[in-house]
């Protein structure tokens, strides 16, 4: 099974991500999101950024985790290619992301993701695997 796959939506695009643990499914959702923004293989994981978000439930934590990564991307003008969730509790997520500054000579920016939406949002365990699904506003 792939780490993530693209959900086709008429106007926008989503990511369905999988993992053996919920943490891993969150990490793979982040990988999927950045794969929409650029070609991940060309992004070196040089600089580390901490992430710390709070929300009432795990669906909202997923949205906030991804929104936080988009914010890091936009405000620091860095592309991110490696992700780690280190703590995932009822209403709290801690993690890290690694990337490098955008270099127009090497990186092509493919899509502008405006935000992470709550439409069709899912965090669930199916058999022994965790699944997440989100739709982005493009």
């Amino acid at each position: 099974m792939p780490a993530y796959e693209v959900i086709e939506h008429t106007a926008d695009v989503g990511i369905r991500a999988y993992g053996d643990t919920e943490w891993q499914a969150f990490e793979n959702a982040a990988l999927g999101m950045f794969s929409l923004i650029t070609e991940l293989s060309g992004v070196n994981a040089e600089i580390e950024f901490p992430v710390d978000v709070q929300a009432d439930d795990h669906e909202t934590l997923l949205v906030d985790w991804l929104n936080e990564l988009l914010y890091i991307f936009e405000s620091n003008r860095v592309l991110l290619s490696r992700f780690e969730v280190t703590e995932l509790e009822d209403s709290h997520l801690k993690g890290r992301a690694w990337g490098e500054p955008i270099d127009k000579t090497r990186h092509e920016l493919k899509s502008d993701i405006k935000a992470v939406t709550y439409h069709m949002l899912k965090v669930k365990k199916v058999d022994d695997r965790w699944q997440t699904a989100v739709i982005f506003d493009i």
Binding site: T10, D12, A115, Y118
Partner: protein, 518 residues
Amino acid sequence: MTAGKRPLSSISDGSRPVDNVGREKKPDMAETKITLTDGATARLIEIDPWTWEIPKTGRMLVPGRIFSDRQLVERASEEKALEQVANVACLPGIVDASLAMPDIHWGYGFAIGGVAAFRISDGVISPGGVGYDIACGVRLVRTNLRYTDVRNTVPALVHELSRSIPAGVGRRGRVRLSRRELDAVMTDGVPWMVNHGYGWKEDVEAIEDGGVLEGADPSLISERARERGTAQPGTLGAGNHFAEVQRVEEIFEPEAAEAFGVFEDQLVVMLHSGSRGLGHQICTEYIKITAAAAARAGIYLPDRQLACAPIESPEGRDYYAAMACGVNFARVNRQVMTHLVRESFEYILKSSAEKLGMGVVYDVSHNVAKFEEHDVGGTRMKLCVHRKGATRSFAAGHPDLPPKYRDTGQPVIIPGDMGRASYLLKGTESAMKRSFGSTCHGAGRVMGRKAARRAIPGYELKHRLESQGIIVKAGSTKSLAEEAPEAYKDVNIIVDICHHAGLSHKVARLRPLGVIKG
């Protein structure tokens, strides 16, 4: 017989049956059933060839009403768009019906092309019903140039515009605002920007609300939203946003065209952009805030993206005041770009923008919630009208229109795709009666973004458009493919349906000559 009542086969030439906008007619389809989010099923009913209804079913408080034709409404039912129309009909205080325009397609929360009006007393306001790109919209700038006279200069104009207008993912602009200046932009909108050298006094009246939506409160805007806004006024962004040099190809209503200052063969510039990172951040924050308010008020949300708060609650009032900041910022963004367009034309044509007649025809916002008065069952009511991918289409005589357009109706600007056409329409009396003064906002997508990338190589598309005489300047050829003409419905059909349904009337068709995309 009125156009709206015309039977399906009326424009057939007798050889092959065609539908009411000239496409080959499909055999009548089986009854369309819609499965609602709460599991109930509803049957789609044809009211007339341009109007379809989802009867009030399950938790719906009013019916759903779609202005479209058979083929497009069938298509909308294949995705989740009609279910989304029904979901909006479940929100408290909704008046008349949950409406959808002909360019309806599957969105998140509200369908794209949705219009919903709520009573003030018991209704709601929804950040998701406005969208992340608050006051995303379109502006049309005229010139007094004829294409035939400046044909050879068009490539230089397009090139200069592509150098001058920052476009693309996360791009920053040339105008940097201090904290105080950003506050002023969010509170005082375009008039403030004009007073600071970006534009002409008369631009202001050619923008909805005179370029400033009252009631904005910058104290509600987070540091993060400010950070995302400071560097971005006067930037295009990516996705479906664009700047286009266009030629007026055909005039449908000479009198209205004259009032709008538009003539055949004229060179015009269209800008499509929104509130950039600032608006996205405001929406993201207020979806969370209003979701909590909805839970406290016991409001049933069929989809979390429909998060909303009672209009008269602290959260509802705060959202409106924060959204107004985003609206004013979006219009200032288009104002700064207008300034850049004028400078570019001045530089290439060695003449002043005034001499070139570069006034603003109009500026519409198609993602917004506004307080407006409408007739509901014979009673005048103040309502909160959400337009999510729909354009205001006010009729002649409306007090919101500037004096120069008051006898004509509001100019309605519809961006099409980069290969076909865009349109200038005018608002109608029947839109006031049928759709809270609203019409479509574009062509509407038919193909997903990934599907478009798979089907259409970007470099081939660029080549094909250039062989049709359309210059393309795109930051990324991959994202260019996502915006290919075939990924969209035919805008000609959409505006024809709006015309027949009475939501807007055609004034002029505009052909792209040069396209700048992120």
